[in-house]
Amino acid sequence: MAAHETGFNPDDRYNAFLTVCRKAPHGDGKLAGIAIAVKDNISTQGIETTCASKILKGYIPPYDAHVVDLLKQSGAAIAGKTNMDEFGMGTTTENSAFGPTLNPCDTTRVPGGSSGGSAAAIAAGMVRMALGTDTGGSIRCPAAFCGIVGLKPTYGRVSRYGLIAYANSLEQIGPMAGNVSDVSLLMQVIAGYDRRDSTSYNRPYTHTPNPDIKGLAIGIPQEYFGAGVDPKVAEVTKRAIFRLEELGATALPCSIPSMEYALAAYYVTCTSEASSNLARFDGVRYGPAADTKKSWHDAYREVRRAGFGAEVRRRIMLGTFALSSGYYGKYYAKAQVARENVKKDFARIFSEVDVIAGPTMPTIAFKLGEKSDPLSMYLADILTVPVNLANIPAISVPCGKVDGMPVGLQIMGKPFEDERVVDVAFAYEQVAA
């Protein structure tokens, strides 16, 4: 079906790409000829897909993810597969088995994670658009750190068929680009029902961004501007929200008490699901071979020791522990109750306001190697994970700089109101230009 070929020879000094498709075929359609980068946890037929892990080195999927089908149908050229934190586990792309990606804004800093490769590729001008995935902030964080736009759609709006699972109940594939219009265009292509994904909703996205936000009520949660958030970042974000008020919106204070345990609920849930999802990598059907001279358990254990990085092994063990007999009630079951409370908090706030706004990340991009302690790394996700727990849409749009580094404004919306969230970001983008 591809009628043409796009040549793609990027200068990838940031290590944004794991695989480059130098001659990418493309057809006709909405995205005709546009070179699009795809995060390396999304299955691409015939193109190596590794999730930035040694345990999938050499794996060539025999099928395309649903979103890749849709990209091809709209004429896009798959430019390559982008770097990420191994299996999506990280906030900086430093957990890649194939070297970190550098932030094009400052190469001594991280681009954010886990979709750091996709963000850097856009920020460096190598591609116009990219697909990322967001489990606890993995689209929004790199968008904020690299100064681009990234949308995490409402859970279920974009098919996960073909997305190599990390945390099934939390993650979504989403569009990333240099501006809101391109994010919206890409969302038009990838959103919609897929019968191969039992969690998929029939909610296509056909919207073109509209900057009119007169009368909009914006909730400002105190937890997003309190301790743990860099005051300079908070200040830049407040100024951005003020610009929105100048356009006719009203900011109203609110509170999300469940933020107190949202991060714990998130990490218990995602590590539990991951411990199950990642157990299939045994070197038998794909990936570097298991040693068939060993006995099963010995071979299996060795494949996983050698193939998974430390962070992945840590999370698998945490998740195994959280699900284990005797601890299930204390951890996993409690996390689900906590999650329902988060959902109820958002529902309560959304009965009074239309969207919620705050900073995407509590700081600007860290220096490479700065966050070596796992727990302090997890705490960086505090502002993004509630959105995944509540299954709601959220976008990050650049709203200024601190110490020369980009800051992201996060707009969160009601379930299935991705269009509204895009509109608010668009409205800001138009006046900030």
Binding site: P62, Y201, A265, W296, A306, T320, E340
Partner: protein, 89 residues
């Protein structure tokens, strides 16, 4: 509070290998993280879940399978169409 032995047990349960030099640091990290998770003990709620989608099913229709070659393509060892795995006792 988990001990290094507990961490070894968890690794065994998860059938995942850890390096000896990782055991100490892993144990410390675990303890910090699990202590952070203790906040969940304070969570109150009936846990009643609002479930919207249910009964998502498909008709019993046959669809084409992958050709055998595609199935075996990524496997390291195959024999007469079977995939070779380490022996189970």
């Amino acid at each position: 509070m988990v001990t290094e032995n507990d961490v070894r047990d968890i690794a065994e349960l998860a059938d995942i290998g850890i390096n000896t030099e990782e055991l100490g640091p892993f144990t410390d990290q675990f303890n910090a993280i699990l202590e952070y998770f203790d906040v969940l003990d304070r969570v109150q709620g009936d846990g009643s879940v609002i479930r919207d989608l249910s009964n998502v099913m498909r008709e019993d229709a046959v669809e084409p399978s992958l050709p055998q070659g595609e199935v075996l393509k990524n496997a390291a060892f195959q024999e007469d169409g079977f995939i070779r795995a380490p022996r189970v006792m």
